[in-house]
Symmetry: C2
Subunit: 398 residues, 2 copies
Amino acid sequence: MGQVTNTNARFIAECLAPSGIDLYHQSVVGDNPKRLTELIRTALHRADVVILSGGLGPTDDDLTKETAAEALGLSLTFYPGEWARIEAYFAKTGRTPAPNNRKQAMFPRPCRILPNPNGTAPGCIMEKDGKAAILLPGPPRELEPMFRDHAMPYLLERSGHKLYSRELRIFGIGESDVTYRLDDLMKAQTNPTIAPYAKTGEVTLRITARCGSAAEGEALVLPVIRTIRERLGDAVYSDRGEPLPLVCHNALIARGETLSVAESCTGGLLSSAFVDLPGSSAYFVEGAVTYANEAKMRRLGVSEATLETHGAVSEQCAREMAEGLRARTGTTYALATTGIAGPDGGTPEKPVGTVYVALASERGTVVKRLALQGDRTRIRTVTVLHILDIFRRNIFTY
Amino acid sequence: MGQVTNTNARFIAECLAPSGIDLYHQSVVGDNPKRLTELIRTALHRADVVILSGGLGPTDDDLTKETAAEALGLSLTFYPGEWARIEAYFAKTGRTPAPNNRKQAMFPRPCRILPNPNGTAPGCIMEKDGKAAILLPGPPRELEPMFRDHAMPYLLERSGHKLYSRELRIFGIGESDVTYRLDDLMKAQTNPTIAPYAKTGEVTLRITARCGSAAEGEALVLPVIRTIRERLGDAVYSDRGEPLPLVCHNALIARGETLSVAESCTGGLLSSAFVDLPGSSAYFVEGAVTYANEAKMRRLGVSEATLETHGAVSEQCAREMAEGLRARTGTTYALATTGIAGPDGGTPEKPVGTVYVALASERGTVVKRLALQGDRTRIRTVTVLHILDIFRRNIFTY
């Protein structure tokens, strides 16, 4: 009915991609016995392993296990141990299972039963004549850990591989430019693999090696990371998948320094990026969302002359916002943003997307003019990334 | 490879759900000629209409159109008019098409060509012997408008229906409680249909009627909206799909009133919800992210005695934050949030999720204690919804 986005398919594909196990088909079908049977038979016919998600619940609509077993020519029997586990799961939340739930303790014999710490339905792996069906629960918070902890090790064992993975985060170079600069590496890749993922305003590369051990995996991945760092320079801000706010957060905590933030066009987004991180109270002293000129003057001490002569979206105003806030709070650093996020307010000299960001510290004040593309939300989001990027480069230089 | 989540499948399913057109199968396959041919043949065999997305680009990998035409027994011919349109699309961005792009002007004859204002690849509808294949480009920002503007009208024309839809937004009642209270309506539904969608902390209901005209659709939908409003009361805050910040934003603009915001645990999220809306400069005067106690005292005038006696997470502190900010800014309303978002900082009296929100106006100050569940991000997000809900109820009462 379109109420749920199938993130399980993407998650499983992403896990399988570097493993050398080819994923050829993804199919979605409703809880209809005839269509489900037909689909499972087709899938088992065309692949060695079929991964099924959903339909492991207690109701009559939940048919996946029965249908898969029948397609493999296996029959289900009652597992008292699994039933005890289901009763214990219910007891934890003060409930008792319904008779219907007994279905969830039925499996072929033999069968690998996959424990589900996050729900009542255990998963399982059924095998017959070299074919396998891996049955997983539908909710992502149940499926994802079960796939990672049980299905993936089974698949890697079948294929004789282990995986080792690292995530590079990049700001300041677009995805097409990243792939252009790494074209030869990406075309030649077999092991490790290099997979790019574009987020708003930034690029992530996942480097994954098939290997016999973590040490061997690291030995395969590290030279690739080194080469990529040589090509992309300090645009690479993490090789362990940390997002930009976390990189700044960790640096502030490690250095025992403090921060305050003055925001106009980002309107609280920048403060929020820090406050969202547990432990930010150690350094985050204050944020000022000074969207109105009056607030810029009263709270930050921006001069009326600056606002009149240069306007609120100007290098001078950004500088005075950061310096004014830092003077008032006494923090090690103060950050400021002011810009035209649109859709209105643009002029020929300062079109929508014109943003100034500033960083003030005892070492002086850095101001940068940005010319950003996109809608209001994108301009605000990318502004936050730019000032964080300036901030981390500045911190790491000293 | 798991780099993209298939949102097209969900989007199409959501559009089709209320139309009475049954969606039985969704399949995903790579750009492999053999597997693609097999899949398209199977799909055309088991359905009247097959919707295909992706593979309409200019490269050799883009096979969808050729494969679908072959499966239907149609051959492709060159359409000079489409070629001119593609050249014009390139010219707009100062480029010229490559010879490869000629592929994108090849279609069967006859064929309904679907214009693509957001990319180079036109879509199309091919028909043969009562079967149809609808070909759409892959990127959601190209597919979604093309599906809505061209494919959906074609499908409704085939099925003899129109659709009329309204979205109810609800805060303060959980999804299971909403569906419980509307159980009889939802079970009896045929036309209009009622589809619930849960978002973080709120519930949305889409009411959609199959109808001959918009007026007839409205006549079918409005009585259902009236019944739902009777059952759910003022938890329904919009029947036109406006999110909570927008409802408050519109009310503030209509009333010519002003707003300031003091945030502790939400750390800028609440300010940002307003600043994200174009036109918010009309009323949004100032936000203060006073995460540190020192900032609560200096910027808002919270008393040291309050912080010592009651702590920063207390009714008194929330009240003083809102009242202090309103006194300093002179705005019609001031909102404040203070709470323990976790993961640390909880105590037996004030566990993680304890949050106080306050609204100050000339009519006095309202403070509410919340006991929220979930992780740090969820607690912060739901806090914002709660204070916005208090705000809109307060505004609409006067």
